[in-house]
């Protein structure tokens, strides 16, 4: 028995990737609707426990290296877990575990019943990919896992109830594959000029060939590829449609994880692999990323104000929040980066909560007898007076919205605090001003929903609408609750984020908070 335990603890970095991967075909074989859900649920919670255990180990003992199959790095594949990955891994597995609880009820309504097992299989594969990206220690495996997660997410989006899910998924596939291939191209060029794929080796060898044009092109390719997956503003075209038409639970899952992991890839390559000396000091990637991020921040929030469909409104708000994260990265200060990384988790929690609240609404309104009108089930007018008939859902939405604005005692405030601090540290007060301006825009779109929920009269025909089942409402409140808890008790997330920022910016360690 103790032998078994030691095998498990030694292989923790691999298990969290392998477990969902093995469970995915199992789901297809099992086929039964509820049984596959139980398989997926057990596996995601096991992975979550695994990442928490791993994170604890990393904080106590420092970064971990794991050699797949016992082969050492120059030949074998390395998984490397440091403070940054551990944080991202915890977020991804936590979101997977919580979202999956809400999945069966929501799938029952939105996904055809003979496809549930496939949906869970794709969900687990997507999780495999995301966990893999976050733990991979070499550049090529980042690409492979990225494609695993992308391919399964196209499938998940295409499961959406309207026909537009199909066209959105196909457009996302075309753009997303270009993004993935750009990363592959960048990795190839890196291998060409350094002769290694291992991220740590790359980090050591790149300064030697600093300024070599191949390295510059590689950097451009990786940044473009990562920004496509991240949906940074000029490359965001796929996101609003994909989020709007995917099944509600899938949207909640992808919004909280996929773009966050892409942000991780961007940060890891710019700061760890290329290094600040090369990416920022020499080639000024921040001069490109900062303006784009600021445009994203304002454009996303402004577009959200004019949107009449709540799900799409939240998708645009995601664009804006992605802008915040990239601003944190492009400021290149300790506080800014801490803000960006803490916002990665904070935004994951609150946006996932909001999308699950929308899932509750859809569950009540989008019943199949509405036919074509199912499409409009997240239209703002459908939410009229819902504050009375669905008090818990509405309250969750309001709290999530407050967090989106950045009201004190919510997680949104914590991340914006560090971002503004970072902006002043970098001497860019106008960045801070724009952050506040974009938050003011967030008030406008959140208020628009609050007004409809609480101050509009409900249409008489839908008086009989009741509260959503606790299977969906529970996870929503777990996430909204987490966004309040970590808004007040900021120590754990901020400490993890600043440890992660120190990994990325070792030269600046000591400065900042």
């Amino acid at each position: 028995m103790s032998h078994l335990i030691s095998i498990v603890t030694e292989n923790l970095p691999m298990l969290q990737v392998v477990l969902p991967m093995l469970a995915a075909p199992l789901c297809v074989v099992v086929h039964h609707r509820r049984a596959t859900w139980w398989v997926a649920l057990v596996v995601t919670w096991a992975s979550f426990a695994n990442s928490v255990a791993l994170a604890r180990k990393v904080y106590l003992e420092g970064p971990l290296s794991y050699f797949v199959g016992g082969w050492e790095p120059p030949w074998g594949i390395e998984l490397r877990i440091d403070e940054l990955n551990a944080f991202v891994l915890c977020l991804v597995s936590a979101i997977c575990a919580v979202v999956l609880i809400a999945a069966p009820r929501s799938f029952d309504q939105e996904v055809e019943s003979d496809r549930h097992h496939l949906a869970y299989a794709a969900f687990l594969l997507c999780m495999t990919g995301l966990m893999g990206i976050a733990s991979a220690g070499d550049a090529f495996n980042v690409f492979v896992f990225l494609e695993i997660s992308s391919l399964s997410s196209y499938g998940l989006i295409a499961l959406g109830p309207s026909r537009r899910a199909l066209s959105s998924a196909l457009r996302y596939l075309i753009v997303g594959t270009l993004g993935g291939t750009f990363i592959l191209l960048g990795v190839g060029l890196l291998y060409m000029s350094t002769g290694t794929l291992n991220l740590v080796d790359l980090q050591q060898r790149i300064p030697a060939s600093d300024g070599h044009r191949t390295i510059v092109v590689a950097m451009v390719c990786v940044v473009v590829g990562a920004c496509i997956k991240l949906a940074l503003v000029p490359l965001h075209g796929w996101l609003p449609d994909a989020y709007t038409f995917a099944p509600s639970v899938v949207t909640a899952f992808l919004a909280a994880t996929a773009t966050k992991v892409a942000f991780y890839v961007l940060a890891r390559f710019l700061f760890s692999v290329f290094g600040v000396a090369s990416s920022i000091d020499r080639f000024h990637v921040d001069w490109v990323l900062l303006p784009l991020a600021l445009v994203a921040m304002v454009y996303g929030a402004a577009a959200a104000i004019f949107e009449r469909d709540v799900k799409r409104m939240l998708a645009y708000s995601s664009l804006s929040q992605i802008g915040y994260m990239v601003v944190g990265l492009a400021l290149v200060t300790k506080s800014g980066l801490t803000g960006g990384i803490v916002h990665l988790v904070n935004h994951g929690l609150m946006k996932c909560g909001l999308f699950l609240a929308i899932a509750c609404v859809v569950l009540r309104f989008g019943s199949p007898h509405l036919g074509v009108q199912r499409l409009g089930s997240t239209h703002l007018d459908r939410l009229r007076g819902l504050g009375r008939s669905m008090p818990w859902t509405s309250a969750a939405f309001v709290l999530g919205g407050l967090s989106m604005i950045g009201v004190p005692a919510t997680v949104g405030f914590v991340s914006k605090w560090y971002l503004v601090l970072g902006a002043f540290e970098a001497g860019k007060w106008w960045v801070a001003a724009l952050i506040l301006f974009s938050s003011a825009l967030a008030i406008a779109y959140v208020w628009k929903v609050v007004e409809v929920l609480y101050f509009a009269d409900p249409p008489r025909r839908e008086d009989e609408v009741g509260e959503a089942p606790w299977w969906v409402l529970g996870p929503t409140w777990v996430l909204v609750g987490a966004s309040l808890v970590f808004g007040v008790w900021t120590a754990p997330t901020v400490r993890m984020a600043s440890a992660a920022a120190e990994v990325l910016l070792p030269a600046l360690a000591g400065a900042g908070p």
Binding site: T177, L375, R461
Partner: protein, 128 residues
């Protein structure tokens, strides 16, 4: 442009062809093909950079010294990338079939028109 760079030039030609098709053609199947061509160009780049001038196949020859071997690593990587590429193309074409079943067309602009019509219907339904 020496003969040694011929492959790299072809990589660039293929890459630009692929990107052009994706950006300029409204037909979704053509877009998928454009993506595939783009992926193939990157695969060709990897294959090319594994080649060592005068190198032979990377199978250890017992007793022989001073033999130059080609680098097998990029080739092995591309086995994975080819699998990824096939999976992507297959999924893309499968989705294209479903899109054609639902929309009756594969032209992106016509699909957009149909989507706008859907959105208007939903707006009307949502507003009751």
């Amino acid at each position: 442009m020496g003969p040694g760079l011929y492959n790299y030039w072809m990589v660039i030609v293929l890459m630009m062809t692929g990107l052009y098709v994706v950006l300029a053609r409204p037909n979704l199947v053509k877009k998928i093909m454009g993506v595939t061509i783009f992926q193939m160009s990157v695969i060709m780049l990897y294959i090319t950079l594994g080649k060592v001038a005068g190198g032979t196949a990377p199978i250890l020859i017992e007793g022989a010294e001073d033999v130059a071997y080609s680098n097998p690593v990029p080739h092995v990587l591309m086995l994975t990338a080819i699998v990824v590429g096939i999976a992507t193309t297959a999924l893309g074409l499968a989705l294209a079939i479903r899109v054609y079943e639902e929309f009756g067309t594969l032209e992106d602009d016509e699909i957009r028109d149909a989507e706008i019509a859907d959105a208007m219907a939903a707006e009307a339904g949502g507003a009751d």
